[in-house]
């Protein structure tokens, strides 16, 4: 009897310490942030919880340009990454042979270096008179005023670069699980390579694409490092606005409201995306 009880309590005992930590420092902070977003006042004289929903409206209207821009950059980055990553994942999964691990390792190699350092290196490479642009300008291929830094393409380049493995690996994992006999069967049935891809390989890769999109779109839209280092005021993203409101202006209510707004938009986006892809079945496949 005592043994059965102990067995029944065991899982709860196991998850207690970690679960408590997550509860205290993941769930409760979200609530604290919600509460803060509804408060009024300032840092010096204190805040009061007045349930001021107007803060949300103000935040959205003042910064809608940045919000839209962030979502747009996130979208472009994600699409670019699918286009770049898919051929690589395909090639390694189907033709990698014994060298699969080596290729994966090489792809992940740059990510042993700090994220900030990587982006700074890009900034260094792309400076107006730097390694990349100076020779091109000297050769007359580019006008003297041409600059890459401070433009949207620079920021998108940074975003695409920094999150690429998050797209390659999930697609690779999904493709690797494709039974080559299925592909062979399709070919035996006289399917052309394009048809094989469209009807067999691509659908089977979808769980990977979904996971990749999830792990790319969300961080890319909410990123601020890339835009801060590689961009200018024309590329301001909502992440920078939020960061500035928290860490420069100390306008906590607006900052919290914006955080929540961003999170809400991303969640809605993900749900819509899941519906569109009909990923219910896809998820079941992934679970196997």
């Amino acid at each position: 009897m005592g043994g059965r009880l102990r067995t029944r309590l065991t899982p709860y005992a196991l998850i207690l310490p970690g679960g408590l930590w997550l509860l205290l420092f993941f769930v409760v902070p979200m609530v604290a942030m919600l509460s803060l977003s509804l408060q009024e006042g300032d840092v010096v004289s204190g805040y009061q919880l007045t349930f001021r929903w107007q803060t949300y409206v103000d935040g959205f209207t003042n910064y809608q340009e940045q919000i839209v821009r962030s979502l747009w950059y996130g979208l472009v980055t994600t699409v670019l990454q699918i286009v770049i990553a898919f051929p690589i994942a395909y090639w390694i999964a189907f033709r990698g042979g014994r060298r699969k691990s080596m290729y994966l390792f090489l792809l992940l190699l740059p990510f042993f270096v700090s994220f900030v350092l990587r982006t700074i290196s890009w900034k260094f490479i792309l400076t107006d008179e730097g390694l990349l642009l100076a020779p091109l300008k000297d050769l007359g291929l580019l006008p003297q005023e041409f600059h890459v830094l401070g433009t949207a393409p620079a920021v998108i380049l940074g975003l695409t670069y920094n999150f690429l493995p998050f797209m390659v690996l999930p697609i690779y994992v999904a493709l690797e699980r494709v039974d080559p006999r299925v592909v062979e069967a399709a070919r035996d049935l006289y399917a052309s390579p394009v048809q094989v891809f469209r009807r067999v390989i691509f659908p089977l890769s979808l769980p990977g694409v979904f996971a990749g999109v999830l792990m790319t779109f969300v961080p890319a839209s909410s990123d601020y490092v890339n835009s801060e280092l590689l961009g200018s005021s024309n590329t301001f993203m909502i992440g920078q606005v939020i960061q500035r409101q928290y860490l420069s202006n100390q306008n906590y209510p607006t900052a919290s409201a914006l955080s929540f707004t961003l999170m809400g938009i991303l969640l809605i986006g993900i749900f819509i995306y899941a519906r569109v892809l009909g990923t219910e079945d896809v998820l079941k496949v992934a679970a196997r």
Partner: protein, 261 residues
């Protein structure tokens, strides 16, 4: 044949992308050898090894690096332990909180770092708690637990129950079974999870930025100093961390191969 051509194109393409990925790393390593005067490392002025000798010349930087390592190690231990426990629970047992626990972990992994950092700052500010190493550690453990748990759970799910049952048939209590049978079997996953937590912690920027106050860690120090100019010591530390990571990965795969033999 058409297929050969497609293969060749893909091969070249993959290598081009790999080179593109490694480009900034190469530049970073290269400029650790730059013979530059003053504090600005912007133009190539000649090759030198002198900075390797002067690696710890900047006390702030050395302190920040040390702090990052300490925090990452603590995170690895704490998150490793807590995450393993959760991973075992989720992988092995069916219980009432199963769904919520899964959901919270999923949310913790896919939440934007910005929102996690912002919410932690909101909490600390509302509670009137100061910011410093303690808050950084709290944040790092928080976002690492889920990663460790997922890795461990995946391994636990594939465990053969029969072995544990056999141990119990031979009279071992649950703790003994866990210690002598389960743990050794899931150990590689625990180590993998721990290393993952270490890597995530030592590189974290966004969440740390929100929860650190005036304390600096390695990524924060670099961020702070971009405005004035990055000293070569940073390049070298990046290079060394990079080399260290490669060594660990190679050692890992050699160990894995040896285990298979």
């Amino acid at each position: 044949m058409r297929r050969r051509l497609a293969d060749r194109v893909l091969f070249v393409y993959t290598w081009l992308i790999i080179i593109w990925l490694c480009l900034p790393i190469g530049v970073m390593i290269l400029f650790g050898f730059n013979d530059t005067q003053g504090r600005f490392n912007q133009t190539w002025q000649g090759f030198t090894l002198k900075w390797y000798g002067r690696l710890f010349d900047i006390p702030d930087l050395t302190n920040a690096l040390w702090r990052s390592v300490v925090i990452a190690t603590l995170t690895m231990i704490i998150a490793g332990a807590l995450g393993t426990l959760i991973g075992v629970a989720l992988g092995r047992y069916r219980f009432r909180g199963h769904g919520s626990m899964n959901f919270i972990m999923f949310a913790a992994i896919s939440s934007p770092e910005l929102v996690m950092g912002a919410s932690l700052l909101s909490l600390f500010v509302s509670a009137g708690a100061g910011l410093g190493v303690a808050t950084i550690l709290i944040a790092h453990v928080m976002f690492s637990i889920s990663f460790v748990a997922v890795v461990v759970r995946a391994r636990v799910i594939t465990l053969d129950r029969n072995i544990e049952e056999a141990a119990r048939d031979l009279g071992a209590g649950p703790w003994t079974t866990f210690r002598l049978v389960t743990l050794p079997m899931i150990f590689p996953a625990v180590i993998a999870g721990g290393l993952l937590a270490f890597a995530l912690s030592i590189d974290d920027f966004v969440i740390t930025n929100f929860t650190s106050g005036t304390t600096t860690t390695f990524p924060l120090w670099i961020w702070g100093v971009t405005r004035v100019g990055i000293p070569p010591q940073v390049n070298i530390m990046g290079t060394l961390i990079f080399a260290f990571g490669i060594l660990i990965a190679i050692a890992n795969s050699i160990a894995a191969r040896r285990r298979l033999r």
